[in-house]
């Protein structure tokens, strides 16, 4: 990691899905770019706790910037997957209606989708719905089918984007909490809480939940990001409730409702709730909400059972009005605001990368294409996706591929080592990168093995092993 004394053309604050997309997009040009984040790893904020859905483009009308970016972004994922090798699948989305009133709402969504140019959108009879998703409650009346909707592992997407950006020259500074900024000449000086500082001509504020605080630090626009909490349950991959499609209820004016999501990696996610919270650090789950999720999800997919629950978690979404706020600051120079990126932010994020690149260009940033830009990152083998014969061949070169560390998600020692070498040195970072600890035993068997691998590979002491950075230390002492 660089010590942070460098000068850059662009500093992006926030290494979530927006910051990562912007960084990667800018990495195609002859620019010095730095991506900074206050957490110990990338994707540790809003981008880690969400539904992981590539939306269908029918929830919002095209008068909204977010709808236009959603549709554009959704179409970019196939190419991104080719380049970046992250888990993504267009499994399709169904919206299920259980009352006549809801069928009228479905019709509205359909018209909106058609108006937005959604490919393949159709209204469905009960028979068609049950054919598309046999696990639906047979009481379904009809609904909407959007074949282009899909699912993605959001943190893996961010990891791949950042890996690609770094491969093309972007620098990453983690544990860099922006605490002060000053403009002199045509340059911003950006200081971190720990004393590090960098200089950059342009700054992009993609700080998610804390974009308001970052804006204030730069003396830019005043606004308030409110956190909306979404709680989820994760179900075992052997659950009988695993659907083929993402299943949505008919949305309300407040939210898209609670969904049943067959994750790309084989588990099932149900949720989220949607509740405004005052405290942006409050990602606690509550008993009442979790009960609500189970009953709502079960109303659509009756096979859902609490016996299949592996874990629960909550994510916070940054809300600011009813649209994204992406524009150059009108108050301070060379400062781009990328704020209020709630749903469908993940879907829109590749398009946000393009959009911000264009904003910066208009604001005077010179964009000259790199001749040696390489959009591809190397494919990594995952033992769980390979046949025994393939694993045998891999193990001939590196025996660690045949040493299983996480039995539930089938992760080998070699994959853990790769995660550590890619800079993921916290237990959560390794979990998001490899899936180890994410399965049914929730790390009961593999946590100590992973801690030992981190210590071996990095030379860190036991007291430096954290769950997700900061003071989240795993061990208090040694005997």
């Amino acid at each position: 990691m660089k010590t942070g004394s460098g000068r850059y053309d662009v500093c992006i604050v926030g290494a979530g899905v927006c910051g990562a997309n912007i960084a990667r997009r800018l990495s195609a040009y002859e620019l010095d770019v730095v991506l900074v984040d206050k957490y110990a790893d990338v994707s540790f904020g809003v981008s880690k706790g969400n539904s992981g859905i590539i939306h269908g483009g029918f929830h919002h009308g095209r008068q909204h910037l977010k709808a236009r970016l959603e549709i554009q972004g959704a179409m970019m994922f196939d190419r991104l997957r080719q380049e970046l090798d992250f888990p993504f699948k267009r499994c399709g989305i169904v919206v299920a209606a259980f009352h006549e009133d809801e069928m009228r709402a479905i019709e509205q969504l359909y018209m909106q989708g058609v108006d937005n140019g959604v490919i393949g959108i159709e209204m469905c009879s009960r028979e068609r719905m049950l054919e598309l998703e046999p696990k639906l409650n047979p009481d379904v009346l009809g609904g909407l089918w959007v074949p282009g909707g899909g699912i993605v592992e959001p943190y893996r997407f961010v990891f791949s984007l950042v890996e690609s950006a770094r491969k093309n020259g972007v620098e990453l500074l983690t544990d860099f909490k922006v605490s002060a900024a000053a403009r002199s000449g045509d340059e911003w000086t950006v200081r971190a809480e720990d004393g590090r500082s960098i200089k950059a001509r342009y700054v992009v504020n993609a700080a998610g939940l804390f974009a308001d605080e970052v804006s204030a630090v730069f003396g830019a626009e005043e606004f308030a990001i409110k956190a909306r909490k979404g709680e989820y349950y994760l179900l075992d991959r052997l659950s009988k409730a695993r659907t083929e499609r993402v299943v949505f209820p008919v949305p309300t004016s407040v939210s898209k409702g609670m969904l049943v999501i067959p994750t790309v990696e084989g588990t099932v996610l149900i949720g989220p709730t949607a509740d405004m919270v005052d405290d942006k650090g409050d990602a606690a789950t509550t008993r009442e909400h979790l009960e609500k999720i189970l009953s709502s999800a079960r109303a659509m997919i009756p096979a859902i059972s609490e016996n299949d629950v592996i874990t629960s978690f909550a994510g916070l979404r940054p809300t600011l009005g009813d649209d994204f706020y992406i524009e150059m600051s009108k108050k301070v120079p060379a400062f781009a605001q990328v704020a209020g990126i709630q749903s469908p932010g993940l879907t829109a994020s590749p398009a946000i990368g393009e959009y911000v690149k264009d904003l910066l260009k208009k604001a005077g940033l010179k964009l000259k294409e790199k001749v040696d830009y390489d959009p591809f990152v190397g494919k990594r083998p995952h033992v769980k996706d390979l046949s025994p014969y393939e694993v045998d061949q891999l193990a001939a070169a590196d025996p660690a591929y045949a040493n299983m560390v996480c039995r539930c998600e089938k992760v080998s020692e070699a994959e853990i080592v790769e995660a550590v070498r890619a800079g993921h040195t916290t237990l959560d970072g390794i979990k998001y990168f490899t899936r180890a600890q994410m399965g049914r035993c929730q790390g009961g068997f593999c946590t100590y093995k992973i801690m030992k691998i981190i210590m071996r590979e990095t030379g860190l002491s036991y007291s430096d092993i954290t769950k997700n950075g900061g003071e989240s230390r795993m061990l208090k002492d040694e005997l």
């Binding site: 994760l234 052997l238 650090g281 990602a283 606690a284 789950t285 509550t286 008993r287 979790l290 609490e306 629950v309 592996i310 874990t311 629960s312 978690f313 033992v383 025994p388 014969y389 694993v391 045998d392 193990a395 001939a396 025996p399 660690a400 045949a402 040493n403 299983m404 039995r407 539930c408 089938k410 080998s412 020692e413 237990l427 049914r440 035993c441 929730q442 790390g443 009961g444 068997f445 946590t447 100590y448 030992k452 036991y462 954290t466 769950k467 997700n468 900061g470 003071e471 989240s472 230390r473 795993m474 061990l475 208090k476 002492d477 040694e478 005997l479």
Partner: protein, 418 residues
């Protein structure tokens, strides 16, 4: 890929796997044990307390000593032992079954066998399984993981501890953490009675002055980065008394909230499971619904003592040897869990032989009686001084008990507690 063939392959090298393999070898069958850890013995290796072996070895041993004794019985026999090897795929074809084993020392090998013995043991239920709400900080461990960290890796996971659930591992760990200078503030149990063995309540809690909160639910874990406390709510007449909730400050939460047989490989092999035990449904030979696939030990149902695991696994090993030689039960009686019985294992008895049945009670009771009913007629009653869900019960079903089975087209044995 290297390929090897045995009469039987045992998956898991804990107490159950070793006992089964030893019997197979003694009966002249070739067999292999595949163990994912570097050493045989399974979880016994980290159970450095004593209390093991009173039945099997007639003396009190620690876990590692018990494992060593079992290992001595296997070493020097014809049993092939693969350690550091994980079975990743099972193909339970009717005649010859195949297992793909992954290991850093030899890559992938394929083991072929006519019979498979499932002896994978169990895993701990975790926070998600019992759905404890709240923050998700560092410092929440299952008791078994904490035991591994302390006893084998030599690390102290935390200083101020609350144990959730009164299962045996949690009780043992309450004592262990006290011994290494940590403060155990409480053991919190949702039920009105402890889940662990009485001897552990006395030796691990009473002797250390650790309070046990019965009928209390953990309603929240508090702490953004590291655990700062747990919120506990009393349960009165089945209802949560939210106004009586209180917070116990601590930096570590250990969970001891039950064990689940680890049957993912069994499911892959098409084995039918019993929802009451989460283990396979087995017949009088301890054979699962897939012919040639047998199960014993904690993968079949969670035992309370390793001595009983060994007892059951020895029988499984001997049965597999009989099965490999072509023996099949002629007629079997169905065994069902009657009043106040949570489960019985196995699910079938062979009236032409003596059978051993394990069961667990749903109720706590003194001066209880266990009834054996064949086709709805009581054939024998056994007095039990005390029964409780945490203590496994066993009963011998002799040929004499089952004599009336013959002549009945679908004989049923019911075990009842009263």
């Amino acid at each position: 890929m290297k390929e090897l063939t045995y009469d039987a392959v045992v998956i898991g090298g804990g107490a159950a796997g070793m006992a089964a393999a030893r019997e197979l070898d003694a009966a002249g069958c070739s067999c292999a044990i595949v163990e994912r850890e570097e050493r045989l013995g399974g979880i016994l290796g980290q159970c450095i307390h004593n209390g093991f072996g009173l039945i099997e070895f007639n003396e009190e041993l620690t876990g590692p000593e018990f494992a060593e004794r079992m290992e001595e019985r296997v070493r020097g026999t014809g049993v092939a032992v693969y350690t550091g090897a994980t079975v990743m795929e099972v193909d339970a074809a009717p005649e010859i079954k195949s297992l793909f084993c992954y290991s850093a020392s030899f890559g992938v090998i394929r083991l072929n066998a006519r019979a498979i013995v499932l002896a994978m043991g169990c895993r701990e239920r975790n926070r998600g399984n019992i759905r404890i709400p709240g923050d998700r900080p560092a410092g929440v461990y299952t008791a078994g993981l904490a035991q591994r960290l302390v006893n084998i890796e030599g690390f102290v996971p935390g200083r101020n501890v609350v144990v959730i659930g009164s299962g045996d591992i949690g009780l043992i760990m309450a004592r262990r953490m006290s011994w290494i200078g940590c403060k155990v503030h409480a053991v919190v149990e949702i039920l009105p009675y402890p889940s662990g063995l009485t001897r552990n309540i006395v030796q691990c809690l009473h002797d250390f002055g650790i309070p046990l909160y019965l009928s209390h639910l953990t309603t929240r874990i508090i702490g953004r980065e590291r655990v700062e406390g747990v919120e506990i709510t009393p349960i009165e007449n089945g209802a949560l008394m939210h106004e009586k909730s209180f917070v116990i400050p601590c930096d570590t939460v250990l969970l001891s909230v039950g064990l689940v047989p680890e049957n993912e490989l069994s499911k892959d092999a098409g084995v039918e499971l019993n929802p009451m035990t989460n283990g396979p449904v087995v017949d009088s030979m301890l054979m699962t619904s897939v012919p040639g696939v047998f199960a014993c030990g904690n993968v079949l149902h969670v035992h309370d003592l390793v001595d009983y695991v060994v007892e059951e696994a020895k029988r499984a090993g001997a049965n597999v040897a009989r099965w490999l030689k072509g023996e099949r039960p002629q007629a079997e009686a169905r065994i069902k869990a009657g009043p106040n019985v949570r489960y019985v294992a196995p699910s079938r008895a062979d009236p032409s032989r003596d059978n051993k049945i394990y069961l667990r009670s749903l109720v706590v009771k003194n001066e209880a009686s266990l009834e054996i009913r064949v086709n709805n007629r009581v054939v024998r009653t056994v007095k039990k001084a005390h029964i409780q869900p945490s203590e496994m019960l066993s009963v011998d079903l002799s040929r004499a008990d089952l004599a009336t089975c013959s002549g009945s087209p679908d004989p049923t044995v019911e075990i009842a507690l009263a």
